[in-house]
């Protein structure tokens, strides 16, 4: 059968219509965020920068002994990030805020895994080593991990760290939300328990959101009117309240859409029933067939021409 110019266009039109209609038949992306999960509300205005949370985290998760004591507050002189040896760090920011005596007042920001409601790391993980639990924790299962580190690339907060120093059995390291403590002893995360000023409040995420809104309402002027983590990347289990704008405290501005929504929608619509590769190869096949036919039609001339010239 010969593919005429007209029939080729027909075929291409059918392909185009399929391309337009197929994504509509794919189910719209749905959030898998747990409804009744736990979370923590960090009130930055309450934090006194004592680093007890770091100490408790280190002890509970049996992390390596820190090079400098947790009582040493000069550690706060430089900005740090959580890494393979520490799941949480406190950073100090001088934003120019002064107290009634005219003295500079620092703000202290605790950094750890935010335990997103729709985590990008879970979506990016190709083996299911990362999973979102119903209690709110983003759980890492080392036995399923192949060490591809896609989670590290995917995380908008740049939290997961890798044990590069351990070549045989390296693990991805990040805050565990003290799931074992919660499950076995019915206790809040160690950092929340030890916090002397309750800068970290542990509870159901919905309760905490209401509590945060109540604090904003009851203390006008004390906080900036924003609950960081309420909507960022579709919501996170850890929520923050602050006196100074979050941009000044090292918080990055993030979209309110869950990050997996775009990537998963793209992937699921492009690859459902393998229609897009099928269409691509059909089109390519058509183009090939046509050009081949064209070539073979002109071939006698092409082969004869040199001969004729001779």
């Amino acid at each position: 059968m010969q593919l005429k110019r007209r029939s080729f266009f027909k075929l291409a039109a059918v392909g185009a219509v399929t391309a337009v209609t197929t994504p509509c038949t794919v189910k719209a992306w749905e959030s898998k965020a747990p409804q009744d999960s736990y979370g923590c509300l960090v009130d930055i205005s309450r934090c006194i920068g004592c680093r007890k949370c770091e100490q408790a985290c280190n002890a509970v998760n049996e992390l390596p002994t820190a090079a400098r004591s947790f009582d040493d507050l000069t550690v706060l002189d430089e900005k740090r990030r959580p890494d393979a040896t520490k799941f949480t760090v406190v950073n100090r920011y001088n934003t120019g805020r002064i107290d009634d005596k005219g003295l500079l007042v620092a703000d202290f920001v605790k950094v750890q895994c935010m335990h997103c409601q729709d985590p990008a790391c879970v979506s990016a993980c190709i083996t299911g080593a990362m999973s979102k639990h119903s209690n709110g924790a983003v759980h890492y299962d080392a036995s399923k991990c192949i060490g591809c580190r896609c989670c590290m690339v995917a995380c908008p907060f740049e939290i997961p760290a890798y044990e590069y120093h351990n070549p045989i059995t390296p693990k991805v390291m990040k805050c565990t939300f003290c799931e074992t403590l919660q499950r076995e002893q019915n206790k809040p995360p160690a950092c929340a328990t030890i916090c002397p000023t309750e800068a970290i409040t542990f509870g159901k995420r919905n309760t905490l959101l209401n509590l945060a809104k109540k604090r904003l309402h009851d203390n006008p002027g004390r906080y900036v009117k924003h609950i960081y983590g309420e909507k960022e990347v579709g919501g996170t289990s850890w929520l923050y309240l602050s006196k100074v704008p979050f941009a000044k405290l090292g918080f990055i501005k993030l979209p309110f859409n869950p990050l997996p929504r775009l990537t998963e929608t793209l992937q699921h619509s492009l690859f459902s029933y393998l229609w897009s590769p099928a269409l691509l190869f059909t089109l390519l096949g058509g183009v090939m067939y046509r050009s081949h036919k064209k070539q073979s039609a002109h071939q006698p001339d092409n082969t004869q021409q040199p001969g004729g010239a001779l």
Binding site: I48, T193, P196, T197, T201, G203, K204, T207, R215
Partner: protein, 251 residues
């Protein structure tokens, strides 16, 4: 007559029985009073009162005015010394020795009960004695109580009340160590000494763990006293009165 004499003797004996302890207390009144208040404070610290359900919400100025109107004053603060060592906090963690809190001193320097007693229970009945000035742990107990999410736990209530005020007044301890001494572990198991040890053995055993502290001491005036001892009778010109020289007989 005999019966009367018996009665008289009994009364005398009773009087003596009651007077004796007070007499002996009067003799060394200072030590016995401190012991007494320390024991009382220790007992009191162990008490857990039922949690206040609802608090009367009013602004700080209104509350202060109302307390003044009730003629409640510092003179009504009967207990002057507390130990902050609640089982509510100990159920969660036990890192520090009890904090010694001088209630009388704080009441006198602030002059206003409402600074710390910032709210009161709605219900009078369960706290009929002092409903206006219930203890901290009446309202603040367990942290993250699911039924009272906005209420601070006892530990946070202390810290959120104490720290900003100490900073603002620039008075009292301003560091963690100022209020909190570390829990000292029981040394009976830690110390390993032979029967009837000599002084050098004891010092060596102390140094086994406390070497850093010993080195620190070597750089203080306690160890290397080099000045005149003005107030030491007959030896005012003596310049070597440190522990490293004449005051200690270890070497």
């Amino acid at each position: 007559m005999k019966r009367q004499l018996f009665r008289f003797r009994a009364v005398i004996m009773l009087v003596v029985l009651f007077l004796l302890p007070s007499l002996s207390m009067a003799q060394n009144s200072d030590t016995s009073r401190t012991l007494f208040s320390q024991d009382l404070a220790r007992l009191r610290a162990q008490e857990v009162v039922p949690m206040v359900d609802k608090v009367k919400v009013e602004g700080p100025i209104r509350r202060s005015q109302r307390l003044h109107a009730t003629e409640l004053s510092i003179k009504d603060a009967k207990t002057t010394y507390f130990l902050l060592d609640s089982p509510i906090i100990k159920a969660q963690e036990d890192h520090y020795a009890p904090v010694r809190f001088n209630h009388g001193q704080h009441a006198a320097s602030s002059g206003d009960c409402s600074v710390c007693h910032h709210l009161r229970p709605v219900d009078n009945s369960s706290y009929s004695n002092h409903p206006e000035t219930v203890r901290c742990s009446a309202c603040h107990q367990q942290s993250f109580h699911p039924d009272y999410p906005e209420r601070l736990g006892l530990k946070a209530a202390y810290h959120q009340n104490c720290i900003p005020c100490h900073k603002k007044q620039n008075a009292g301890p301003l560091t963690c160590r100022g209020c909190h001494l570390n829990n000292v572990p029981e040394h009976k198991q830690l110390v390993k000494l032979p029967e009837k040890p000599d002084p050098l053995q004891v010092t060596a055993e102390c140094l086994r763990c406390h070497e850093d502290d010993a080195n620190d001491l070597l750089h203080t005036a306690h160890w290397r006293w080099r000045g005149a001892s003005l107030y030491t009778q007959d030896q005012s010109r003596q310049v070597d009165h440190g522990k490293g020289t004449t005051a200690l007989n270890n070497d």
